[in-house]
Subunit: 275 residues, 2 copies
């Protein structure tokens, strides 16, 4: 098999963390592993796994490794081929409501580092489903996004969403859209995540301003965290914060009532300095 064929979904991943994540989550995508002679012994324990998948390991010098990896790399890289991501359909939203799965939508993100920050934050806080729309799908096979995510992109279930505004209108009875915006919207109160009965949540993260086609579908719009008087944080800086806050939404109880947390300031001895 000639791995140098131009292939739209050809993706080179760099580093052992990304390789192990790929081996764990998408083993069939692997085509070839390329390592330096110095690093090869570290791969010995995975040889059986590679052999079973029919993946060859090639040993090259440091200069050829950098060339093969198409970027800075000093240990190991791997060539992978991936299927196209599926398109999100209306029936998927019904499923996500059933399973109460919160989803994240990256809309119009143009910087691979921003997408990587979103992916890393989602993986760290246990969110799985990432929809790419409004141009973000162009980054879906961008090597920098996968490399900067250090394996986190492998853990996510990526999907494309076409005509997002129309799609969200069709599913508004089962999906509540919470959007972030660099400039407008309410202040995020870390203690109060958004909760909606009977629907699941989607966090919409725009690469720039909110798309006017999508704005009417947004039920809650929050400003990027930070004081208004200060220079704003960037998208990749607010991603961990916004996703931690979003993921802290308590799950509804099995009987349908919203769960209640214990009162924050339950009285106990010593909580009042004058008592």
């Amino acid at each position: 098999m000639n791995t140098n064929d131009p292939h739209p979904n050809r993706l080179v991943i760099r580093g052992i963390a990304a390789l192990l994540a790929c081996l764990k989550h998408h083993p069939k995508a692997l085509r070839e592993v390329v390592a330096t002679a110095a690093f090869a012994p570290n791969l010995a324990e995975y040889d059986a796994a590679f052999a079973e998948l029919g993946v060859k390991t090639r040993i090259v010098g440091p200069i050829e490794l950098v060339k093969t990896a198409e970027g800075p790399c000093d240990d190991v890289c791997a060539l992978t081929m991936r299927p196209d991501f599926g398109l999100a359909r209306i029936s998927d939203f019904a499923e996500w409501r059933e399973s109460r799965e919160s989803i994240v939508i990256a809309d119009g993100v143009t910087d691979a580092a921003d997408l990587a920050a979103i992916a890393r934050s989602m993986a760290a806080f246990g969110l799985k489903r990432l929809l790419l729309s409004g141009g973000t799908e162009k980054l879906s096979f961008h090597p920098e996004a996968w490399n900067l995510s250090r394996g986190a992109m492998e853990q996510l279930r990526l999907m494309r969403a076409a005509a997002l505004g129309g799609l969200l209108k069709l599913v508004e009875d089962r999906c509540c859209v919470v959007a972030l915006s660099p400039e407008i919207g309410r202040k995020i109160d870390l203690a109060v995540p958004v909760r909606v009965p009977g629907r699941h949540l989607a966090l919409l993260i725009p690469g720039g301003k909110l798309d006017p086609d999508i704005q009417p579908r947004v039920e809650h719009c929050y400003r990027f965290p930070g004081l208004v008087s200060q220079p704003g944080l960037s998208l990749s800086e607010i991603a961990p914060l916004a996703i931690a806050w979003f993921a802290s939404t308590p799950q509804p109880r099995a009987d349908g009532f919203l769960s209640r947390k214990r009162a924050r300031h339950a009285k106990d001895k010593g909580s009042n300095p004058t008592s």
Copy 2:
């Protein structure tokens, strides 16, 4: 004045954002402004301010600009000289208690990007006082830390802290130390910031593991946010999240009681889906 003298506190800042922040917060540090001919007209409105400070503006070609800036730069850079930062003293902690000023301590941070992330997050959430200890002070004039912070370092009041473990022991009656740790400690609940009556708070951010000398001084230790089963987030990724959580601590009321927030789940119509 020869600005090429080796000077321990010589610092080149790059980009207009950093220059304006320096002009606003530390105008006396400015020594020379170097810009390309293409960018110079954008500086016209600051000419009077520069003249008053006795700062010359030099116009150079793009190649010389990059050389002067000691790094990638395509608009403007500035040479600055800064005084050494003061050492934090015991009396400072008494002052901070009086003014209820929360402080951040960066201990043993070795990566300029991490320090820049801490500075940016502090500026965004309105914290001012950053103590550098355990090697972090080596980064205090590191150009990358200042450049990556995009002006945020200028807004902070930086101080050094020598023998931090001993210092914190001496001030433990007025300062409560909240530490982060990559691996051990409680889970951060975004809804519950740490509050202590009669003392002010210090957030200790270690560059690696907690220093054993400092560990006995830590009253509350929190793990880096994120699920335990997932690959951890890095220090620069958790900095905005941890500092937003830390800065959300409500201030005590003037009468000495802790302020209480409105109950989170106050009953109102529609809050219960079956009502």
